[in-house]
């Protein structure tokens, strides 16, 4: 494994920063603004994708810019885990951009400049934190992401959305400061913040130090990863426009929390150390509790987006659980589930948005017969729900299979059982929607009425991706190989 100097990582970040500036400058020209977004999204994906080959070969593009603090640089390094996350985010930004344009036009929303500009900034920071080579750089992008999402949450400007914005900030900034302590403490203990597979802590660290450090990281990231009881900002944040919920609250922001846990457990503290202090058990139990409770809470939601939000909470904890099991299968599954859950959940949110734009319906109880009006949308919806429930041949099956196998292989069958039960619960709260949509007769018979192409095509694409990753886990983007390589990096002598 070796690194080589490259401008690609920084270019990937800067593309959307430039877009951010241009979008603000094109305040009065919607077409130019949207063109900028699309071009930036595509070029960003291109840049990220061009690095996949290097990373698969074990050559990490890297870049040191300048010092942030004596001894700590603003440094980027693209490794397997990072590129998985970056690739997912930049890929889905393309579809979301098209979808947003359709959505915003469909609802003639105001303040679109602010919307697209914040979006671009969010993506910059997401890619930035994916590529960060050390904790301080990571934190920098992590906090920018928190702040940049705030205008999106409060986009509507209604009292309700302002309240949600407050809650969002209260939770995430609290998480942020706790994380900052964790980082400072790490620096104090180990004298470095550079990520390294297997951890950077010196051998002599005491149990108390490690326990404190681990708890700080868990709680700090736990806010963004929406681990119960730190989750309640996520359902509230569903007041944001649907593209925001789709990309940020199902992919970028929450996954940033999970990705932070990947870094903290795998690259800072190290799985071996964590296993020694019994941290895996704590994490796994928390994750299991979250999975079960969130799934049960999802049943009670009549609002479609809220149900999706609780489902997100549960699925994030799939990943956390996978990390907590400290075995190669489970880690492999966890990393893949970051991707798979992303494409499936974004499909569901896109569908919810399409329904809202066409019919202004938000509640599940009003969706009788919607499948007849919007057959394509609801078919995509069905595919994604099957995936989330873990049914082949959709993407969710692959990652879930690995997670369950990891649990059983490691002799921790109980967590495997939790995952299986959760699959049933998923089916329990998703399939009634599908049933309602296709098998109940609508209250009015208006015939087919699909969403505009700008929204429908993204839905088709993400649903297609869900199938693709289910049938060919390594297809086109090499997510499977990347995840496997990442794990074997970590596993070097550990597992």
């Amino acid at each position: 494994m070796s690194g080589f100097s490259s401008f690609l990582p920084i270019a990937a970040i800067i593309v959307s920063l430039i877009a951010f500036v241009l979008i603000i400058l094109f305040d009065k020209k919607p077409n130019a603004r949207e063109a900028v977004t699309i071009i930036a999204a595509i070029s960003k994906f291109g840049i990220v994708f061009s690095m996949v080959g290097y990373v698969l070969d074990g050559r990490y593009p890297q870049m040191r810019l300048f010092s942030l603090s004596p001894g700590i640089d603003l440094a980027l390094r693209v490794d397997e885990a990072g590129i998985i996350f970056a690739l997912l985010a930049s890929l889905l930004w393309i579809v979301t951009s098209f979808y947003s344009i359709g959505y915003m036009r469909g609802l003639s929303e105001t303040r679109q400049t602010r919307f697209f500009a914040s979006f671009a900034l969010c993506l910059s920071s997401t890619i930035g934190l994916a590529f960060s080579a050390n904790l301080l750089t990571f934190y920098l992008f992590y906090e920018i992401l928190t702040i940049a999402t705030y205008p999106l949450v409060t986009h509507k400007g209604t009292p309700e959305s302002i309240k949600a914005g407050r809650k969002y900030l209260a939770y995430l900034l609290t998480g942020g400061v706790i994380l900052l302590v964790a980082i400072v403490y790490t620096y104090q203990i180990s004298g470095t913040l550079d990520f390294k597979p297997g951890g950077i802590l010196p051998a002599g660290a005491s149990f108390a130090e490690l326990a404190v450090l681990f708890s700080l990281f868990l709680v700090g990231f736990g806010f963004k990863a929406a681990i119960i009881p730190l989750h309640s900002w996520l359902p509230s944040a569903m007041v944001a426009p649907t593209p925001v919920s789709a990309l940020l609250h199902a992919v970028a922001v929450v996954k940033a929390g999970v990705f932070g846990l990947v870094r903290a457990t795998g690259f800072v503290i190290g799985p071996e150390v964590l296993a020694d202090i019994g941290a895996g058990g704590v994490m796994a139990i928390l994750a299991s509790v979250t999975i079960v409770i969130a799934s049960l809470l999802a049943f009670r939601q009549d609002n479609l987006k809220l149900r999706l939000a609780y489902s997100t909470v549960a699925h994030l904890s799939y990943i956390v659980l996978g990390l907590a099991l400290f075995s190669d299968y489970a880690w492999n599954g966890a990393l893949l589930h970051i991707v798979n859950h992303g494409v499936m959940k974004i499909t569901l949110f896109f569908c919810a948005g399409a329904i809202y734009v066409k019919t202004h319906l938000t509640n599940i109880s009003d969706l009788d017969g919607i499948g007849r009006k919007m057959p394509l949308t609801m078919s995509a919806f069905t595919i994604a729900t099957m995936g989330l429930a873990g049914m082949p041949p959709v993407a969710g099956f692959v990652s879930k299979f690995l997670l369950v196998e990891g649990a059983f292989a490691d002799g921790r069958a109980v967590f495997g059982v939790v995952l299986l039960i959760s699959g049933l619960l998923n089916a329990g709260y998703f399939f009634p929607i599908v049933y309602r949509a296709f098998f109940k007769s609508p209250s009015d018979n208006t015939g087919k009425n699909e969403a505009p192409a700008l929204m429908l095509i993204p839905i088709m694409v993400t649903a297609g991706l869900s199938l693709l990753f289910g049938l060919f886990p390594d297809g086109i983007f090499h997510f499977f190989n990347l995840a496997q390589n990442a794990v074997s990096q970590l596993a070097g002598g550990i597992w």
Binding site: L68, S69, E143, I144, G157, A170, L180
Partner: protein
């Protein structure tokens, strides 16, 4: 020529103060331009001085060629270079702000206002450069006297605030002077370097300890360190915006600097940290001050008063850094001087600009302002992020060093204090951001008609706000070159 630099910085300011005053009587515009020229000249000299110091080490300048300890000495070392950079740099930017909204006076009446401002800057530079304890007092009083006059420009309420400040500042100044007396009669010298040499012989003398405590207490009043801050909220609320910015962004920081100077170069850290509880007390009252002042800031409806309480909290960050008394803590404290002066300067100018432009001073009336004044509110947002401590603003990095210092000193309480305070900062700054970016309400007609601030007001605001980002990104340069050499001895 170059060896005269330490003296030239204040002398330039005083000279230009005189010229600006004379010209001001004849033609006001000229006075303003001359004053800006003077401030800029001082800034250029400071930059030159800083470069010189970095290349050849500290510069000592003896007035009238009387060698110290007999003569008066000015010292430009990295720490004082850092401070004169802040004073003259921020000062020059603040002076760009137009006169009428900046000083709340009509041009005809304000003939001498720029003289006083330059004298204030000269006083502050003198405090920073003075190599002996007594001249420091004289310059401290020069800066105080200028401030009294400037604050009172804000009208009746400001005069009351200024009077109060005068009483408190005089007590502070006199305590300091009394302390100087104690030290002088103990060691027979007021030259800082000399005192440092002579003190170890009399470390355990009660009058030395008493003198140190008196001097530090006096300076704590001047720096508005909780609970001696009572004068600051009023004066910063009613003073003209530029003056409030000077006071909150530069003046109280200079007093904090003097405390650091006393600890490092006069009494020596072994004495202050080892033999007196001074740093511990400063640390704990700063910690209390950070929390209490932040809570008070949350409670304010008046934008300016909120900023004033926020200054009390922020200067306590510097106090906390001093109190931690380990290298990283002091680095954090000193760096926060620069960070805070940029952020707070910008915020006070924004407050003044908005007040002058729209008449709004109450936070509740900010609704919809973001749409009307995107640049102003954008600058506000950057400065607010700095106050909260979001990377990559300068405010984050001072917090970072302070946290490093606290954890190194095993002071988990202070860690908690810093974190809680950033959350409280978030509460009171996001309250405004939230209002400003909400859709305008029907009732606030004055907002709906208003436009962006004029360019002349916007320029200094934006320079300061962008400055917080640049200084944040370049913090290592500042820390490594200017601050680290000072604290290495700790």
């Amino acid at each position: 020529m170059i060896e005269h630099l330490p003296a030239l910085i204040p002398i330039t300011l005083i000279l230009f103060a005189f010229i600006a005053g004379v010209l001001g009587v004849m033609q006001f515009k000229l006075s303003r331009n001359v004053a800006m020229l003077g401030a800029l000249a001082a800034f250029v000299l400071s930059v030159t001085g800083t470069i010189q110091v970095l290349q050849t080490g500290p510069m000592h300048y003896s007035f009238g060629s009387w060698p110290p300890p007999y003569g008066i000495e000015f010292v430009l070392d990295t720490l004082s270079a850092f401070m004169v950079l802040v004073i003259t740099g921020i000062g020059s930017i603040l002076l760009m702000f137009p006169t009428k909204p900046g000083f709340m006076i009509d041009e005809q009446k304000g003939a001498t206002v720029y003289t006083v401002v330059l004298m204030l800057m000269a006083g502050l530079c003198g405090m920073v450069l003075a190599g002996d304890l007594f001249n420091l007092y004289v310059f401290l009083e020069i800066s105080s006297l200028s401030t009294f006059a400037l604050i009172s420009l804000g009208g009746g309420k400001a005069a009351v605030a200024s009077f109060r400040y005068l009483i408190m500042a005089s007590i502070g100044g006199c305590f300091y002077l009394l302390g100087v007396g104690f030290i002088y009669f103990s060691v027979g010298s007021v030259n800082m370097a000399d005192v440092l040499q002579l003190l170890p012989a009399v470390y355990d003398s009660p009058s030395v300890i008493g003198g140190a405590i008196l001097m530090v207490t006096g300076l704590c009043v001047k720096m508005a360190l909780f609970p001696l801050h009572t004068w600051l909220p009023d004066s910063d609320t009613y003073a003209p915006p530029v003056v409030a910015a000077f006071s909150a962004a530069v003046q109280i920081e200079v007093s904090a600097y003097v405390i650091i100077r006393l600890i490092l170069n006069v009494f020596s850290p072994e004495f202050i940290i080892g033999l007196t509880p001074i740093t511990d007390i400063i640390a704990w009252i700063s910690a209390a001050g950070i929390i209490i002042a932040s809570i008070l800031a949350v409670a304010q409806q008046n934008f300016r008063r909120m900023l004033a309480y926020s200054s009390v909290a922020q200067i306590a960050y510097v106090g906390l850094g001093i109190g931690l008394a380990n290298p990283l803590g002091i680095v954090g404290g000193i760096f926060h001087i620069m960070a805070h002066s940029l952020m707070k300067g910008s915020l006070f100018l924004i407050a003044g600009g908005i007040r002058h432009h729209t008449g709004i001073w109450n936070i509740n009336d900010f609704q919809g302002l973001g749409r009307r004044m995107p640049w102003t509110i954008g600058a506000f947002t950057i400065a607010a992020m700095g106050m909260i401590g979001i990377p990559p603003t300068a405010g984050f990095f001072s917090k970072w060093y302070l946290l490093l210092g606290s954890i190194e000193g095993d002071q988990w309480v202070f860690v908690a204090v810093i974190l809680i305070s950033s959350l409280l900062n978030a509460v009171y700054f996001f309250r405004i951001i939230e209002k400003a970016f909400s859709p305008p309400a029907e009732s606030t007609a004055s907002v709906n008609k208003t436009g962006e601030l004029p360019k002349r007001m916007l320029a200094p605001i934006l320079i300061l706000a962008i400055g917080t980002l640049i200084v944040g990104a370049l913090n290592v340069l500042v820390v490594n070159e200017l601050i680290m050499p000072v604290v290495e001895g700790l």
